[in-house]
């Protein structure tokens, strides 16, 4: 799709900035929280369930303890009645706890998938609201990577980690309290080891987070490359370049797996290291506890319960460190997701924007200057008027700025200076939707989507009947072809519909355009791949399509241009001649020489 020129340097620079600036963690947490906050009731429920099941896990041993107390008297004296009573209670508790466990997992499933769903939806909705030049600068594969891999990563840590953090806090608190009760002196051991743990975790997150960011980035690049290459598979084959492309893929692949490995290399250190610190505290407790017993009068039983609690205490801290490490990958992924969601959308319609209604179709360019990049002007001081119902042809060498005019008409871009008006309204003062639906546009690059032929033709207008679609297809001379397909109009157009030629695709998009009612029409090389005979056959239909509309036509073929009410001859972003075919020929200018050139080339 033509889009005029802009410097590639600018793209690279933009990409660099994207890679460098990092979002603060607190900000990311806040953003993630907003997603979770939508599910606050589910979260509350999950939290309650976790607390309950934790309590239950305490009740279980108590019940079995009671049962064992009843066994205690020994041979011939076991109190079977009590044993059975508590065994029965145990069963009931276990059943309840299992049911609760299942409910909890279902709640968590709904919570995490709910977040994923919302996130994907937000990413996609942002995608649809971005200005078109975003799509010229970003590889499809990279975006796919964000919407699948990065969101999956966030999901993985959300569903596992969040609850664990919540329950850890409870256990840690209770255990600490109990330990303080037993021996405040021994707790001092933790005064040494816990700060070490904290510092270590802090150090690790600092170290690991850039590695995870790198990992997400590299995976995105790999996907970007893979998407491009798989889409260009046929060309690769044609040029026998499989080996080279595989080699290049390997480069990306190696970078991606290396980035993954590096993140893992350090990330997987956290768990064992924190565990080590805990083990050290355990060793210290044993030694100091023993000494306290020997010289300070601490009872043996107290040491053993202290140890038990300290295990309970350090377990969650261990988990906590692991979770923090895992969260780094989620943060890195979230950063990419939010960065995409934060992309500047097409500027919102002005608050007082007018809804274009009953469009007449008077279009005017008033001293329009425009460039895609700052400092590079593509269109210079363009002036022309297209009165309602007139046919305007735009001709000129490739790269003269023809497609840029269309980009401005459709307001894919805004002018740098001057103005474009429709029915006297500056297009910036009109809602985009109403402006765009005032046009019908057929481009050289056809776009068909994964759906039936019927859906593809009916795409532009709601509530179209089968008959209308068939009529349009007949007018576009594509009905016969469709009928001969095994499933006719219900044939699914797959991604690489081989047996539909480019010309046929163009005819399908023309059929699509025929169903749309609008006052203005843009044809940008709409029939370039249609053979001239077919083009002639659809001419009356095309004339019908153009009737009563303000038409902007870019074409090489004279048949349409000759009938134009006004021909704009463009060169290097300027209109150098205007007039009708006859007047321009009479002027013997650039147009006339262009026109003559084809005769020079024809007979020979």
């Amino acid at each position: 799709m033509n889009r005029g020129n802009f410097s590639a340097g600018a793209i690279r620079r933009a990409a660099d900035v994207e890679n460098r600036a990092r979002l603060p963690r607190r900000y990311l947490l806040g953003r993630l929280w907003k997603y979770l906050a939508h599910f606050k009731w589910l979260m509350l429920l999950a939290f309650l369930l976790t607390v309950c099941s934790n309590l239950f896990s305490l009740v279980g041993p108590t019940l079995s303890g009671r049962a064992i107390d009843a066994i205690e008297p020994g041979v011939g004296a076991v109190d079977f009645k009590t044993v059975f009573y508590y065994a029965g209670l145990m069963l009931i508790f276990y059943i309840i706890s299992s049911v609760m466990g299942y409910i909890l997992s279902v709640v968590m499933l709904n919570l995490s998938r709910g977040v994923v769903y919302k996130m994907r939806r937000d990413v996609f909705e942002k995608l649809t609201s971005l200005p078109v030049d975003f799509f010229d600068k970003h590889q499809t594969g990279e975006i796919i990577s964000i919407i699948s891999y990065d969101i999956d990563t966030i999901n993985a840590s959300l569903s596992n980690d969040l609850l664990q953090i919540a329950t850890s806090v409870i256990t840690v608190g209770v255990s600490l309290f109990m330990m303080l009760q037993i021996s405040p002196v021994l707790v001092l051991v933790f005064a040494v080891t816990i700060p070490i743990s904290l510092l270590f975790t802090r150090y690790m997150t600092k170290k690991v987070r850039p590695l995870f960011r790198h990992r997400s980035l590299k995976l995105g690049e790999l996907n970007g490359y893979a998407e491009e290459m798989i889409s260009g598979l046929k060309t690769t084959k044609a040029y026998n370049r499989e080996a080279v492309m595989i080699e290049r893929f390997d480069k990306h692949n190696n970078e991606a797996v290396d980035a993954y490995f590096k993140a893992d290399y350090y990330g997987s250190m956290t768990g064992p290291s924190i565990n080590f610190i805990n083990n050290i505290s355990l060793a210290m407790i044993s030694v100091f506890g023993s000494l306290l017993y020997l010289f300070g009068g601490l009872s043996l039983g107290s040491i053993s319960s202290f140890v038990l609690y300290s295990r309970k205490f350090s377990g969650p801290i261990n988990e906590f460190a692991n979770i923090i490490a895992e969260l780094q990958s989620a943060f890195a992924a979230a950063e990419r997701v939010f960065r995409l969601i934060d992309q500047e959308p097409e500027p919102a319609d002005a608050t007082d924007a007018v809804e274009l209604a009953d469009v007449a179709g008077d279009v005017k360019f008033n001293s329009v200057s425009f460039g895609y990049d700052e400092g590079v002007t593509i269109l210079h001081d363009l002036n022309f008027t297209a009165d309602a119902g007139r046919l305007i042809a735009i001709v000129g060498p490739t790269g003269a700025g023809k497609t840029t005019i269309i980009n401005l008409l459709m307001r894919f871009y805004d002018v740098n200076s001057g103005s474009v008006t429709v029915d006297g309204y500056d297009v910036r003062q009109v809602t985009r939707d109403s402006l765009r639906s005032a046009y019908t546009m057929v481009l050289q690059d056809t776009w068909l989507f994964h759906g039936t032929i019927f859906e593809n033709i009916a795409y532009g207008k709601q509530g179209v009947t089968r008959e209308q679609v068939e009529a349009a297809a007949r007018a576009a001379r594509i009905h016969g072809f469709i009928r001969r397909l095994p499933e006719g109009y219900d044939t699914l157009l797959s991604d690489n519909a081989v047996n539909i030629s480019k010309g046929q695709k163009q005819l399908l998009t023309i059929a699509r355009a025929m169903l749309i009612e609008s006052k203005m029409l843009i044809l940008d090389e709409a029939t370039s791949n249609v053979d001239t005979q077919t083009e002639r056959r659809i001419q009356s239909a095309m004339r019908n399509l153009m009737k009563g509309k303000t038409c902007f036509v870019i074409a090489h073929r004279l048949s349409t241009i000759r009938n134009a009410d006004q021909i704009l001859v463009m060169r290097d972003g300027r209109i150098i001649e205007t007039g009708t075919h006859d007047s321009l020929i009479a002027d013997k200018g650039f147009y006339a020489s262009l026109y003559r050139s084809q005769f020079d080339s024809l007979p020979e």
Partner: protein, 569 residues
């Protein structure tokens, strides 16, 4: 999984070593509490401070071995996972590169893409994760059972009685889980497709104000993925509670049975207490095993999807076919072909071209022009007849040699987000002079020199910063740069103005060594061809030189006459 195992095989020694290291680390970790209880039970009562420190030192030592063992083992596991994924992805991509067009069409591009990215990712996770928890869980499980068996064989048997039930649950869940996760991944294809579609069609979608509609359609796909993911999750999540319940029921049975045994004087209450504490360890180990099975289900589903691609049969095999003596460079001998094997797309096509000659193909939209090229390049095999190059059946020529003969521009050919020079070179070993010469012949040199950085100018995605005519000239440069034996241009000058088109044709005439196949809409593009084929609905309705066809072929004359004086830029 067969495939996963095959890829793990080369890493098996390292993996085993890693597991061994992990084993040591785990054992020392488990030894710590044991030493602790030894200190409290046996050392402290003796009152020996020295012994307390000795055993404390032992704990310290164990802790160090444990941390080193675990870190090293984790890193080894990561390394194995890295190498595994690297070679798997390499082979998958290589396989995709070598799929026939037919196969690519049936897998569809979005699906291939998600297999290459999302599915390899899940398999990677499985391989990495299983190694990490794959040691501790079995050790705890087996160790726990051993200890309880030693402690109270009869009661352990009760517990073991539950195990077959557990196995049944695991079997049931994984056999359900794998297809369910396959469903999820299939739905992920839909997400990929939708994003790809919207990114390429952004102008049309915006022009038709279909943004809301597209959002709805994406919403459907998104919902679908989430729904299937939940379905899979619901089934997988059964495992944990059910296992818990089964084991705890076993435990209750142990308590009751224990009561009888104690009553009968066969065991002591203390043993039952110890039994119960070990039981917690077993339970935790089983939870880890469940997690492994969840990882397995997801990974196995993805592995299966990857395997589907890997197992795709080799199409377009090289066959033995005798070379015939021929002075023709390209020969189509009575070719018939159909894409869907129902209605023919080409019927009884025959022609012969000598070296350096030009074939022009013209005909209505959808009449089979591009199909001729697909067959000549052997993207598809003919149904009937034979295509020969220099007398050899193209089915007998190795793909590499066959494809090295061509320089080609397809109708909607692709440009990569790379430099202009690289887009022309396209990974081939072509010296700069040839590159420039090709660009000159393709009438591209001037606009290239006007770009910032000239040949080093970087194109945007899909060459979006070029006009249609510029793109086509770049693609023609690419085709010419290799000085091909056979040059194929499939309607690839449609966006050129007539003047440029004429200069291009004049330049092409200099490539006398190349046999040319040119598909065109304009008579002027093929007028000088040695043979012109006029196609209509897969049938040849005219064949010969321009002058002959003007006399004999009504359609051709009609096309030519209507085009005279038609066209301007």
């Amino acid at each position: 999984m067969r495939m996963v195992l095959r890829y793990i095989k080369p890493h098996l020694p390292i993996m085993c070593l890693g597991l061994l290291v992990k084993f040591i680390g785990t054992i020392t970790d488990l030894a710590l509490p044991y030493i602790l209880s030894h200190i409290i039970d046996n050392v402290v009562p003796t009152g020996s401070v020295r012994n307390v420190f000795i055993w404390g030192g032992m704990m310290f030592l164990c802790a160090i071995i444990c941390v080193l063992g675990n870190i090293i083992a984790n890193r080894m596991a990561s390394k194995v996972a890295r190498n595994f994924t690297c070679s798997l992805r390499h082979d998958l991509f290589a396989k995709i590169e070598h799929l026939s067009c037919n196969q690519t069409d049936s897998f569809t591009i979005p699906s291939l893409l998600s297999r290459l990215t999302s599915d390899t990712y899940h398999v990677h996770n499985m391989v990495g994760g299983m190694q990490r928890i794959g040691v501790r869980a079995p050790i705890l499980l087996i160790g726990g059972i051993m200890v309880t068996l030693f402690l109270e064989p009869v009661l352990t048997l009760v517990l073991l009685g539950v195990l077959p039930l557990l196995a049944l649950v695991v079997y049931f869940v994984t056999s359900k889980g794998v297809p369910l996760y396959t469903d999820v991944q299939t739905a992920v294809d839909g997400i990929v497709r939708k994003v790809q579609e919207n990114m390429t069609g952004v102008r049309v979608i915006k022009a038709l104000s279909k943004t809301d509609y597209e959002r709805e359609r994406f919403d459907e796909v998104n919902r679908d993925v989430v729904r299937r993911d939940k379905n899979a999750g619901m089934v997988m999540n059964i495992t944990n509670p059910v296992m818990n319940l089964l084991l705890n029921t076993g435990l209750t049975a142990v308590v009751v049975l224990g009561a009888f045994r104690v009553n009968a004087g066969l065991t002591k209450p203390g043993k039952i207490i110890a039994f119960l504490s070990y039981f917690t360890i077993i339970l935790n180990a089983l939870m880890m095993v469940t997690r492994m099975f969840m990882m397995y289900s997801r990974g196995a589903a993805s592995a299966r999807r990857i395997q589907e691609v890997m197992d795709a049969g080799h199409e377009l095999d090289i066959i033995d076919s005798p070379t015939v003596e021929s002075d023709l460079h390209i020969e189509f001998d009575n070719i018939t072909f159909s894409y869907n094997k129902k209605q023919p797309n080409l019927e009884n096509l025959s022609f012969g071209l000598k070296k350096g000659q030009t074939l022009g193909i013209i005909g209505a939209t959808g009449s089979g022009k591009s199909t001729i090229i697909n067959l000549l390049m052997r993207f598809y095999d003919v149904d009937e007849g034979t295509i020969r190059i220099d007398g050899s059946d193209i089915r007998s020529i190795p793909h590499e040699r066959l494809h090295s003969m061509f320089g080609v521009v397809f109708q909607n050919d692709f440009l990569a987000a790379d430099t202009i020079a690289e887009n022309i070179r396209f990974g081939r070993d072509i010296p700069d002079e040839d590159l420039h010469e090709a660009a000159r012949a393709a009438q591209a040199e001037q606009f290239i020199s006007e770009k910032e950085g000239g040949y080093d100018h970087i194109l945007t995605v899909g060459g979006a910063n070029l006009s249609g005519g510029q793109k086509q000239r770049l693609l023609i440069s690419r085709a010419l740069a290799g000085k091909p034996d056979i040059l194929i241009l499939d309607d690839s000058s449609s966006a050129l103005d007539y003047k440029t088109d004429a200069s291009l044709r004049a330049a092409l005439r200099e490539y006398t060594a190349s046999t040319k196949v040119i598909v065109a809409q304009r008579v002027s593009s093929i007028k000088h061809a040695d043979i012109i084929i006029v196609l209509d609905d897969g049938r040849v309705i005219g064949q010969g030189r321009h002058e002959e066809l003007m006399k004999t072929c009504d359609s051709y004359r009609e096309i030519a006459e209507t085009q005279m004086g038609d066209g301007i830029e």
